[in-house]
Symmetry: C2
Subunit: 768 residues, 2 copies
């Protein structure tokens, strides 16, 4: 698929409509604004293959768990991302012939996602009854008014004269592709339609979320507003207006559709119809151009903070912006109840919303590109779910306040049901602990630990204590029966990464206890009471575990071993795989994957990445050299970590290769699945591969530190970060690295290994 | 539940109707005749909790596989045992009040399963409108005419006078309890009803099996046949006749219902209605008493071969007969297309029909109690599925004719979809190979190997060769990623049992090749051509594997280790478990079960049982002493093997305890699940625990051998076996064991370790 989309610094551009690429492009050109989002489905009818997708933040369906053999502890339901009623629809008829790009004669089809301003544009020419019409459609979801969407549909006659009808509608009869037997998840609550407008209110089954969508429109002929009589349709699951205009050669008809999209996440039902109408009216009065301008201003502001500029490599530049754009349109950090699903607003897959992806891959991005509150809200999201994590632990047989956070969740409850994941992929608990540390390390927060963090750490450490057991034969504590980050191994013993995050959590919790006891004894006492913490008994047990923790290690190779028994596998390198067999998860049976040595995503290397400072460069190299060739990167979360580590150990070509793989994963469809949606959460990893990898940023002895290394083919790299009230700009070229302090007090930092002082409004330069 | 059913040598008796026990009793009192079978649902309406179940041999539904995360290699469907149209129904009204045992006043309810004659009887008194009626219902599924069922429903008035109506019907609107969203699996093909009869023809969705059920009836008042006018109902999914009679005090009304049940397994659709009517007519002309008599004669004959008599222990006697009765009514061996499902005709669970249970637990029973053909048909069933087993192997990535038999199947295709079972529980392949050896060892068959067996062995050995891999660190061949018989461990490495059956298969295949090459070179050449067998290359590879196979063994304890890493677990004994936590599979989460050392069913011990002759008594003892205390016996297939081994090593109390557990598993509901159906396949294991365990029977150096040991509380044990054309009777009492040769030539055998000659019609006695 490489090369399907044009390379451009600020846009994704597709030229020509290829039906076999339609679902992929629907993913690539997705729009969102934090509150809602949607795949790039067409406004008008499209009879080719399409995956309809229109999603509302926080709105999900609890599908009943059905498995061959019920296993105790399974959640009763798993959450589904729901395809919501369709509000973008505008049927277009040209002399009573329905416009359908799958069927009509089409020329010069072009689609552009303008990332700078957050718009989706389509332009194309259709030949209908031998006559040409030029069509241009623009759509955006307002970043300023996040419950508003707007569409401008322009039809310009070249040599056509005749009737054009527009039928803007809202359709409640929508399906999920992954539903059983075409089951519907929405029940209609009410509709209303009259000349000029219509609304549709619907409620999800079981979860009882309500959505209310209200539409209005305006039609202009050669920029004169028309007041046409509409044919009004109102059914229980559909509202529409049909308006018609006669046009002649050279005429242009402009049709504007405005929609307000409210949900019960933010409004009470009794008010929703009225509120929806009011919001729509306000938007409509402002008009398309004003809405567009205020929308693009938000994007402008957002780019001012978060843009990364790469010079001399358009593919790399386009890719990083695509990643940042998707992150910023998926999650804005305004609502602490929300989180980031692996596919964001771009597909149905991975039903639930929140995975460990958030802590491991998203927090770093938001820490450096948004105000403290955004990352803090993501952390507090987990703090608020602590009770449910303890309940979840109880369901699996853990006691005494041991918290096991869910693998996938919408509301704090586990909502995934494959035993090897749900019950065994417990390293997620470590990522949640690490995020607390990472947040405090970066922000220098004085109160987060006492206020929120420590309690979560205690819950997680209690879990680890119960989850280890003593092995007589090893004379060590072991962790049996887990799935590590590399999900191509299930139910293994002593996954090195899991053992590492577990022991690290215990250590950090011990330190955190000391710290809070000293800095805020009152808060400590409160936490102590609330959690029934038995300091002596519990910390003694933790220390004993720490003193006797087992970590698989191979003396011959000097590498940490992914899990017990890994070395019994046939050791084959990914490069030796028959290319027709890749990705192996689309060609091999599961047992074959499990038996192979191939690694889906960074596992031991994930641990080395997280705890890099603990390891000598030689150790990092040995482990990288051992594991990289065995890794097939069939998880989106893999190449970014490999890219960062490759940068660290000076494997710059590898770092660049992995950077392209992470940043262009979706644009070049490495894993042959972009039609299902984008890999939103891995995009945080892409950002890390630039800033942590090539930018060489880290926190070292409490100070910010940069050791950048520019890929060979890049002329320059620059990005900004927010750091403890400052805005810093990092400018890297072939010879030098410059740090400018754009805003905020001076600070001390490391630059190319040396301490440097950066004054207020000052800058500092070092040679590379 | 112990004690709910009365202990009786020939019957299962329940006194009093306990609604909370109804579903359990529906399982216990099930009837079958090889062609069809059913749970003990009531003929008349019952509004309490009930699990309707009426099953037709070989008729199944291919339900679509639905899983959270699709894994390559999963079959497209999994087979469901289907609840078929209900033909037993007779609605009864007494003065227009519907008889419903859940609601009416009821006295002296008694239910009896008479195992000697294969009938289900219910007697009870109801008080309706203050008057008493005594009701007696008898039902049987004819063993002589396996498409015929008959019911006699007697109502005798004590002080009642008034109207009695009977409405015999056939109902097509039936559900499976395990269906999704109340989905129906039968489509109606046609019905017809008239005075005196009715039929209903239905077809299963997707699998397109057809069933045609035809009913007739007769009503007598005080033994005079009545010719009442019937109210006839014919709907697309229901046919019925309603007849009414006036009775007075002391009168008895007898209502007979006859049904023929045909399926497309045995009849072509165009003939089915006509054939069904004809069969019904023949049965009806013979009449209930004659049908009953011919039916009981078949049972009499069956018991003459297969009965086991235990003196001095009614509970044990009742239990073994219950097991034998169920086996004989589930599978008669007449139809080589059929096999034995784990729940037989008694419940929906374990959708598919055929598991490794057949080879490991059923073949021995049929070998010794039925003609050679029955066991041979079960073996040929697998021979006929060889092509599909090779296809199944291909789906999982194996090549060159490697056969992996399915874990669960209806027609040779895999129809189960849990990766840890479907892909990994590969030891089933070993059981299929062993059954060939076992059959030949017992029957002395001269031609089975050349005609059928060798080809299957080659396919299975080819699979093992590809399924092992070389471990550099062990310097041995290993088998990674398997689930052994103990399904409380998933995806483990080097399960000792699996490695053992794999290596044994290779060894036996090498021997079998030599044997066939020598005895039947022509057959060998044919097989060679058909399979493309490369003798030198393939046998060399097998021998290399055999020379370097890894078997986990613990030097300290001197036991074979269940799998790599088993000794890392916390070693707790089952006896130390909190009884409220048992069975653990109903109380513990799956991950906790997996991490524990608890064993669901014999695993290492299963291997020691199969290959007993290879091990010294000390080795058997050490392994038994190690594994037995860790085994929770939560599979029905477990206690029988433990009982047999306990007998071998002289742990007679343990052998007896395990015998009761296997034989009374359902009657005493050890695992709290009998309501779902009976454990039919484990009943073969019960038989083994008596004949192989207490009877001490085995084949030793090609000769039959007996070393019996009577449990303390038994006065005597006797059973018959068929062996190479002979019928032998084994009579064991406290002091002696006697073998009588009832039929067939003389033979040499071992008795209490000494060779003995048993003449034609002779007998031999030894002291115990």
């Amino acid at each position: 698929m490489n090369g399907h989309y044009k390379k451009d610094a600020w846009s994704i551009i597709e030229e020509g409509l290829d039906p076999s690429m339609q679902e992929a492009s629907e993913s690539i050109f997705s729009l969102g604004n934090g509150h809602m989002g949607q795949r790039a489905n067409f406004e008008e009818k499209y009879s080719g293959e399409t995956l309809q997708g229109n999603y509302l933040a926080g709105v999900y369906y609890p599908d009943k768990t059905k498995v061959g053999w019920w296993k105790n502890g399974y959640p009763e339901y798993f959450a589904k991302v729901l395809n919501a009623p369709n509000w973008i629809g505008i049927d277009v008829e040209i002399n009573e012939q329905q416009l359908d790009l799958h069927k009509c004669e089409l020329k010069d089809f072009r689609r552009e996602l303008n990332m700078r301003q957050g718009t989706l544009d389509r332009t194309f020419t259709v030949i209908i009854q031998g006559k040409k019409l030029d069509i241009a459609v623009r759509r955006f979801l307002s970043m300023r008014r996040d419950e508003i969407g707007a569409i401008r549909y322009s039809i310009k006659s070249s040599d056509f004269s005749g009737r054009i009808s527009f039928t803007p509608y809202i359709e409640g009869n929508v399906l999920n592709r992954d539903s059983n037997y075409g089951e519907q998840f929405w029940e209609m609550e009410g509709t209303g339609a009259k000349q000029g407008s219509g609304y549709l209110m619907a409620r999800t089954r079981k979860s009882r979320f309500i959505s209310c969508m209200t539409m209005g429109y305006e039609m202009q002929l050669n920029q004169e507003t028309l007041d046409s009589e509409a044919e009004v349709t109102e059914r229980h699951d559909y509202v529409a207006n049909r308006v018609t205009v006669e046009i002649g050669r050279g005429d242009e008809v402009l049709f504007y559709k405005y929609v307000s999209v409210l949900t019960s996440m933010n409004h009470d039902q009794p008010d929703m119809v009225q509120r929806g109408k009011q919001m729509l009216q306000n938007a409509q009065e402002a008009g398309f151009d004003a809405l567009f301008e205020e929308h693009t201003k938000v994007w402008e502001n957002s780019w001012a903070h978060s843009d990364i500029v790469i010079e001399g490599d358009t593919a790399a530049q386009q890719a990083i912006r695509f990643n940042i754009f998707q992150l910023n349109q998926t999650y804005t950090g305004k609502d602490e109840r929300l989180n980031i699903g692996p596919k964001g607003f771009t597909g149905e897959k991975y039903g639930g919303s929140t995975y460990w992806d958030t802590e491991a891959y998203m927090i770093p991005f938001y820490l450096s590109t948004a105000t403290d509150e955004v990352a803090r809200n993501l952390l507090i999201y987990r703090y608020k779910h602590l009770e449910k994590a303890i309940e979840n632990g109880k369901k699996l047989g853990f006691t005494g306040g041991a918290a096991l956070y869910p693998m996938v969740t919408m509301n704090g409850e586990e909502c995934h049901n494959e035993w090897e994941i749900t019950f065994e992929e417990i390293h997620r608990n470590g990522a949640i602990a690490f995020a607390i540390y990472n947040y405090i390390r970066y922000t220098g927060s004085q109160n987060y630990l006492a206020k929120y963090g420590l309690e979560v750490l205690i819950g997680i450490s209690r879990f680890w204590r119960q989850r280890v057991n003593w092995s007589d034969v090893k004379g060590k504590y072991v962790i049996l029966g887990v799935t590590g980050p590399n999900e191509y191994e299930n139910n293994v013993n002593n996954n090195w990464y899991t053992n590492k995050v577990a022991s690290w959590t215990l250590e950090y919790t011990l330190k955190a206890l000391d710290q809070v006891m000293e800095s805020d004894p009152e808060a400590y006492n409160e936490i102590n009471n609330r959690t029934g913490f038995d300091f002596k008994k519990e910390t003694t047990a933790w220390k004993d575990i720490l003193d006797n923790f087992y970590f698989p290690y191979n003396e011959n190779t000097g590498v940490f071993i992914q899990q017990d028994g890994y070395m019994d596998k046939e050791q084959v390198m990914a490069a030796d795989l028959d290319p027709s067999q890749r990705p192996i998860n689309q060609h091999w049976s599961w047992d074959r994957i499990l038996r192979s040595c191939f690694i889906k995503q960074a596992d031991v290397l994930q641990g080395i990445y997280l705890f890099e400072d603990e390891y000598e460069m030689d150790t990092i190299k040995r482990n990288f050299d051992f594991y990289e060739p065995r890794t097939v990167h069939e998880s989106s979360l893999s190449p970014c970590v490999h890219s960062i580590l490759a940068s660290r150990i000076g494997l710059h070509d590898k770092a660049y290769e992995m950077y392209l793989r992470t940043s262009r994963l979706d644009l070049d469809d490495y894993n042959n699945e972009v039609s299902e949606g984008l890999h939103i959460t891995s995009m945080g990893g892409t950002w890390m591969s630039v800033v942590y990898g090539f930018g060489g940023m880290k926190i070292r002895n409490g100070l910010l530190s940069f050791d950048p290394r520019l890929p060979e083919r890049w002329k320059g790299l620059s990005f900004k970060i927010l750091y403890r009230g400052r805005t810093l700009k990092i400018i890297i070229d072939k010879e030098t690295v410059t740090i400018e302090n754009l805003e905020g007090e001076g600070l001390e930092l490391y630059l190319m290994g040396e301490k440097a002082i950066l004054d207020q409004n000052g800058s500092t330069v070092a040679n590379m």
